[in-house]
């Protein structure tokens, strides 16, 4: 029993060596993913009129900041970079959702406004016709 444990434990250094081997390659920073996220946030900021109400935009900005601080860390591992990439990718979709929601809101508001104008005009015409 005792010897079995020792064997399995002895595997650990090997895997550790493997991990070290992986990290020894200069890890690539997910700069493109971060730039894409920044771009999406900039676009969303132009469209979103009620920034205090857009949770996705808030989340986008928060995640991009997290991703930035991860890749800004000189001791960041490849795993950290993978996490930063995921955060940036999520931030991109958060921002796109914020933008799409704002556009949908505006389209809806325009539709309602036009509908009211139409209704008023219709009523006026009916009143005139009844005169």
């Amino acid at each position: 029993m005792h010897s079995r444990i020792r064997i399995s434990v002895s595997l650990l250094p090997a895997s550790a060596v493997l991990l070290v081997a992986c990290t020894s390659n200069p890890p690539e920073k997910p700069n493109n993913a971060l730039a894409t996220a920044q771009q999406a946030i900039t676009l969303a900021n132009r469209e979103v009129t009620q920034k205090a109400q857009s949770v996705p935009l808030y989340e986008a900005e928060k995640k991009l900041n997290q991703a930035r601080s991860i890749i800004g860390n000189p001791d960041a591992t490849e795993e950290d970079y993978a996490r930063a990439r995921r955060l940036a990718e999520e931030a991109t979709l958060d921002a796109r959702l914020a933008q799409a929601q704002a556009a949908a809101y505006q389209a809806q508001a325009r539709k309602i406004e036009l509908g009211e104008t139409l209704e008023t005009l219709r009523e006026n015409l009916q009143l005139e016709g009844a005169e």
Binding site: L93, A103, A104, A107, Q108, K111, L118, E128
Partner: protein, 268 residues
Amino acid sequence: MNRRALTCLLVAALLTACSATPMQQELPALERARQAVAAAAADKEVHGYATVPLLRSQDALRAAQTAWTQEEDRARAEHLAYMAMRHAQIAQALAAEQAGAAQAELIMEQLNVLQLQARSHQIEELKEQLSKLEPKQTAEGIVLTIGDVLFAFDSAELSAAADAPLDKLASFLREHANDQVRIEGYTDSVGPMAYNQQLSERRAQSVADAMKARGIASGRMTVAGYGEANPVAPNSTEAGRARNRRVEFVILGAGVPEVIGELQGNVR
């Protein structure tokens, strides 16, 4: 012996590992993603306007499920599930925007049709009103006459009955803002000529003031009095004299507007 033991251990460890991984366990992120993708897939507007983001969400959901059940990579599964959820939500938002814009476009078309109707209705009404003002075509332009109701004998004060025709004239002038107008006052033949001359000028002026009060720029209007000249009816009867106590609008239109053009046709 040792080897066999090791093999046993490895197999046992693998089995344990398998049963210990949360393979049967549901990942909350995955469940949220599944619901979001299902909602988008059930949205008619998404199929009409946002098929591509829907497909992206379904792809990401499949990848997330694979990452969870086969690769056992929780971080990747959660990330992909999140992406799937967002793609699905984006699909619904984009579809709502497009559908809203399309509906707004339809309403806009109805509005245009109705506005055209309202406009022609207005023109009809105006034509009817103006035809009561005895339009005449002269070398200078169109002449509209407001008689009968405007003034009492020996008075330049507009009667209450003058309000309605004056309103119509004002709205006509507002619609044809480029035309200059000359307002000419006339009297009946009772009384001294010089007095009637002054009275006619005061009558023209009080009509110009009434027009100004209705928003017509005074720069567009000139005022003239012609006393008892140019009677439109015999001065021998009271009815004729009432018609002669009048104000004429001469619309000095370079571009004679369509309504007037049609009215000319009616008069001829």
